[in-house]
Symmetry: C2
């Protein structure tokens, strides 16, 4: 069992830390929200008074923060950068979803200083974080990946080694851009078929079993009533918020811009999620984007 410092106890980080505790690890936690810390203490964590205290003596440091600026500030450029306070041979796992450029920048500094820093963003949402079934996309050396895997296995089901540092963020940006394309495309095809008289369940099943088959038709149909357990059949509550998809598409656009990778489809999908967001739907599950296609009564 390991000593783990965990920083960032939001909707995702909280349950991830709780699963590490359940597995028997010693977890020292820090968050700016005292309520979030208190919840984890009840679950068996040790409360740290600062990020520095949380990582002192830790073999593994895990962070789950909103954006690149927070990660860079925490490790490199803040008042008391954590890279000055890590135990020797500590492995730092940043599970935040941030821009690849910042992940690569922090990793480059770490490499200069002989610090093990890897990026390991997740997918699977709050439900996956609670159930310990997240997917991790990891940018790390072979050795670092092997060292991180037993810890990631506690919090996730599919642990992918995407490549060197930064590759986890790149893989996630690519995947989520493709997800945005699949969801808008599936919404568009379903809406056109239904508007022309087809039954949404019948058309969904035809396309699922044909060359239009994709994750949305398998598990996350955007049309209300087709899948009883999908957010679409629950007024688009829960699931993966439009705001978060819009954030991820911003990261994909940044990656596209920096590498001059053409993204005509991802850009169009982003425009649709943007329109959906400005109409007040940022808090709804992202599959509600189908509403942009539908006739208003």
């Amino acid at each position: 069992m390991a000593n783990i410092g965990f920083i960032g106890l939001g909707n995702m980080g909280g349950p991830m830390a709780a699963n590490l505790i359940k597995a028997g690890h010693s977890v020292s936690v820090f968050d700016l929200s005292k309520a979030a810390v208190a919840t984890l203490v009840t679950a068996g964590a040790t409360a740290a008074q600062s990020a520095k205290e949380a990582v002192t003596g830790a073999q593994f440091v895990i962070s789950m923060l909103p954006a690149g600026a927070h990660v860079e500030g925490l490790y490199l450029s803040g008042d008391d950068p954590l890279f000055d306070h890590l135990a020797e041979d500590a492995l730092v796992i940043d599970s935040s979803t941030i821009d690849a450029k910042t992940a690569q920048k922090v990793a480059a500094v770490a490499a200069q200083r002989d610090i093990n820093f890897i990026d390991a963003p997740v997918s699977g949402g709050v439900g996956g974080a609670v159930a310990g079934t997240l997917s991790f996309m990891v940018g790390a050396s072979e050795q670092q990946f092997a060292n991180a895997k037993p810890i990631l296995d506690v919090m996730g089901k599919n642990i992918f080694h995407a490549g060197v540092q930064g590759s986890g963020q790149i893989a996630k940006a690519c995947n989520n851009m493709l997800l945005a394309i699949l969801m808008t495309g599936t919404s568009e095809a379903l809406n056109m078929g239904v508007k022309n008289g087809l039954d949404p369940k019948v058309l969904s099943e035809i396309m699922r079993l044909s060359s239009g088959g994709n994750w949305a038709l398998e598990l996350y149909n955007p049309f209300p009533g087709v899948m009883p357990n999908a957010p679409a059949s629950n007024d688009y509550q829960g699931g993966f918020q439009t705001d978060l998809m819009f954030k991820d598409l911003g990261l994909a656009m940044e990656l596209s811009q920096l590498s001059a990778s053409p993204t005509p489809m991802g850009s169009q999908a982003r425009a649709l999620f943007n329109m959906h967001k400005v109409k007040g739907n940022g808090g709804l599950d992202f599959s509600s984007v189908i509403q942009q296609y539908q006739d208003q009564d």
Copy 2:
């Protein structure tokens, strides 16, 4: 065993008719190409001198033609329209991929005249036609569908009842528009990841098993070398031509226009296939659209 009249013996119609002969049916064939007729005669068909002769006395009439104008001309408005020459209780199965409006128009005339006319476009390509593993998307009444199914089963594997007349064409237009979106989106995500240093096989596998999963990643990866049996690994030979995808996207755009169904993603995908076609790639498999994203050496 049935008497079948088969009209249109192209790359698809030829092997479909051959499978009916193999199954023991009596098939009378007609095509403007004498060579195509001769090939089927060798396989056991009877050569008809006209479409009218091919359908005389037939219990089933199957047509496989390039576009709506040919179907309308054959049955309704040509020199000797077939609707004047069908046997009583004949079932007409049009497997051409045509615009839904024409399919509905021909079906409406058929209904007025008590003729059984159903639309049953296919997917699965020439390989599926030869192997008898096509998918059929059928627009028909329950009774007509039940009557057609034993015949369609000889030529296909998945026989879907999409709804009333015209629904087969609508379902296919929706599915193939979604396929165009999946293929361009998958190409785009793969290209961006690889351009940023990821291995195409690793990224393909991560997305296949994550929320980016779709038919292209399962069976038809557009990146050369990822799947040995995909057209991408064979210089984009064989498979489903860019020209045919462009045709199908035109049918989808027509359906969108007539029903005011928004298609921002399908329209963008169509633009990409159009650009790919004007650069001389109409004869390549459609997954070669990934070349539009790739840096030229």
